[in-house]
Symmetry: C2
Subunit: 415 residues, 2 copies
């Protein structure tokens, strides 16, 4: 067996006991993790400092270093997140349905954990704890495979979690970190079908595409967001400016940020200058089609075909004028990633058509796409935002980390 | 574009309109299909006769020819199945949850179709209609890729369904048949990620494993069943014989039939001869471990390691004596395929432990594994029995052919 197979087998064994662990025991382990993170903050900071100095030496960009950086305050925030997960309802064991059949069989469909979840992620060490806490609460074992830049930080965090879990009387192999951070280990994890029930990549588009294209373990695709806002002919233009500005500028790097705005031709001459005035506050670069260029003039960068499919993650916005609702819907369905799509309108029938016909995890009328988030949607916490249709779609909370099982009580029935 | 890409694009376009079709329109199309199947029975029989004579000429086994064979009565049964699907509740559009958030956003999570479903199957032409009816009712377009042995039959059935669908005012491309029945087309379908949302293989183990191992389109694994029954120390032995006989002999070829029985050592000397007496009625071949051989004598075929992992699909049963409930649970979890597992017991705590600790789609106390079926479980109809944990587990009805979508009603909210 390879090192990863040994780790997989240990995780699978832990998953079997964790599936039967009570809520009280799982919560006690989460509380122990939160306390240990606070008590052992200095250890974590020391490991993180070593990661950061190696990162600086290797020429990592400032923004990437910031993602990697932990502070006492950030660690306290992470511990607080663990306590919030402990406070959420336990999804495991609940009966989704239950019925007695005509032959007397009582059939209950119950929530059970998925089993062993693999997470492949990049340079954010907070994911190590966030993901582990959600998996633990939902009765799943987790194998974490973080980026090499954060290895020392992840190692310290995982060690602290494992000893807290063992101290609370559960199997410490419920949480483990892949020790090899080379490409080989990511590749092996993608094919570890004997031990992994599902693999969730968290990170940039390149990572997610590589995992989706290569893995034979079932994958949940998350976090790719080319989101649109369509400003309809009947839109309240002040509202449209406010929504567009929020969707683009409140946090451009996240997947629910707007990348492209579609504007109905009838309101483009009035709306585009208003929008530009607001976007200028953040020096947003506008990349527009010919009509947009004609209306706004030289400040607009001519859009290329590639712009319509690009997730900028930055203060850049593609702008297109469309002739109709049909064209807008079709454009969203062609160029969107099925994440979040919004219409600003005051026409009832257009709102209904957009909601029904646009094929995305979240569709909005008169609100910012930035709300697509487990916390905002009331799920309590999220492990990612699924952009696929199978298993889970949109923000994934604890329930999305479960499967079901039919439990059948008989008295000797035969068919 | 390849022929299959053209077909995929047409299916995707049909899926968009079908997702918004009302229940009345979908039911009208299903009724039209049922009527047309009855009216055009002679055409179907003629096409089937051509398939059958080619099959006979190629030396196909009698049992395979029987799977391929259609009769007026079987076609009437297929049409009746379509009417039953029409009578089922439409899962699409229902709100799974709805809430108003503190900021006033109304967020509804609604059932929507998956989109385009691919079905890869073998020589049973009834699958062509059964699968199409379930997909149509759940608002999905379907691309059918049947075996070459049934091509003429499938072609006739598909043509009849397409004209009925068009006659009912829906897009006929909601249902289509892959025209190329070579391995190449199956392979292309497994990678048609631009158009297919999910792929469901229906057939033997070889087909299912090949699709699972190769497809980059998300797959739902169905129908592999190495099912066990554990006869506990406290079992009512008459009940255990009745359940075992039913689980093995009522229909040995199906996936919910028992392949292996585990018997507690304390009751083996009493139980095994009783069971053998009953199994002899169907001349079931018993393959046992050394203890079983010692108890039953020379009529037992010595079991090899391979027997513990074999889905016989025949009147053959692997028999093993175990020392404890723990050993039985561990054996089910190691050698089972996660399909259906049963315990016969009168000890409460053993029943509970078996239900909780055995990891399978359906777990039973004191009943035959043969009940794992969409009809028996009250789902109305099924497209297959999932043995994976993601998306769907166990018998898959109409709801399992759906995804969800968050629909958000705002009044200008920004984050």
């Amino acid at each position: 067996m390879t090192a990863l197979e040994v780790q997989g087998a240990a995780a699978k064994a832990a998953a079997r006991t964790l599936a039967c662990a009570g809520t009280r025991d799982k919560n006690a382990a989460l509380e122990a993790i939160a306390s240990a993170l606070l008590e052992r903050t200095q250890e974590i900071l020391a490991a993180n400092a070593a990661d950061l100095s190696a990162a600086a030496a290797s020429g990592m960009s400032e923004s990437m270093q910031d993602r990697l950086r932990l502070t006492a305050q950030r660690i306290a925030g992470i511990a607080d997140g663990v306590r919030q997960v402990a406070a959420l309802p336990d999804p495991i064991g609940a009966a989704v349905s239950e019925a007695v059949r005509p032959n007397g069989l009582r059939i209950s469909r119950r929530r059970v954990p998925l089993g062993v979840i693999g997470i492949i992620y990049e340079a954010r060490p907070n994911v190590t704890v966030d993901a582990a806490a959600l998996c633990l609460k939902s009765g799943n074992a987790v194998i974490l495979r973080g980026g090499k830049e954060a290895f020392r930080s992840n190692q310290a965090l995982t060690e602290i979690m494992r000893s807290a879990i063992a101290g609370a009387g559960l199997d410490e192999n419920a949480v483990s970190l892949v020790q090899d951070t080379s490409r080989d280990s990511a590749n092996e994890l993608m094919h570890l079908t004997a031990y992994l029930d599902v693999l969730i990549p968290r990170g940039g588009r390149g990572l997610i595409r590589a995992v989706t294209a290569n893995a034979t373990v079932p994958v949940i695709r998350t976090g790719e967001g080319v989101c649109h806002t369509f400003v309809d002919e009947s839109a309240d233009l002040d509202m449209a400016v406010s929504i567009a500005y929020n969707a683009k500028c409140s946090r451009p790097s996240v997947c629910n940020a707007m990348e492209c705005i579609l504007v109905h031709r009838a309101v483009a001459p009035a709306f585009l200058p208003m929008m530009k005035g607001k976007m200028d506050e953040k020096s947003v670069e506008l990349r527009g089609d010919e009509t947009v260029q004609a209306i706004l003039g030289g400040c607009v960068v001519p859009a290329t075909a590639e712009d319509w499919d690009t997730e900028y993650g930055d203060y850049i916005l593609a702008v297109k004028v469309v002739d109709s609702l049909d064209e807008a819907i079709d454009f969203c369905n062609t160029h969107g990633t099925g994440h979040s799509e919004a219409i600003v309108t005051d026409r009832y029938s257009n709102a209904q058509r957009f909601l029904n016909e646009v094929d995305a995890a979240a569709v909005y009328v008169n609100a910012s796409t930035r709300f697509t988030d487990g916390g905002e949607f009331g799920l309590g916490a999220e492990i990612g935002i699924s952009t696929q249709k199978m298993h889970a779609r949109g923000p994934m909370g604890l329930e999305e980390l479960t499967s079901t099982k039919f439990v059948v009580y008989g008295e000797g029935q035969v068919r």
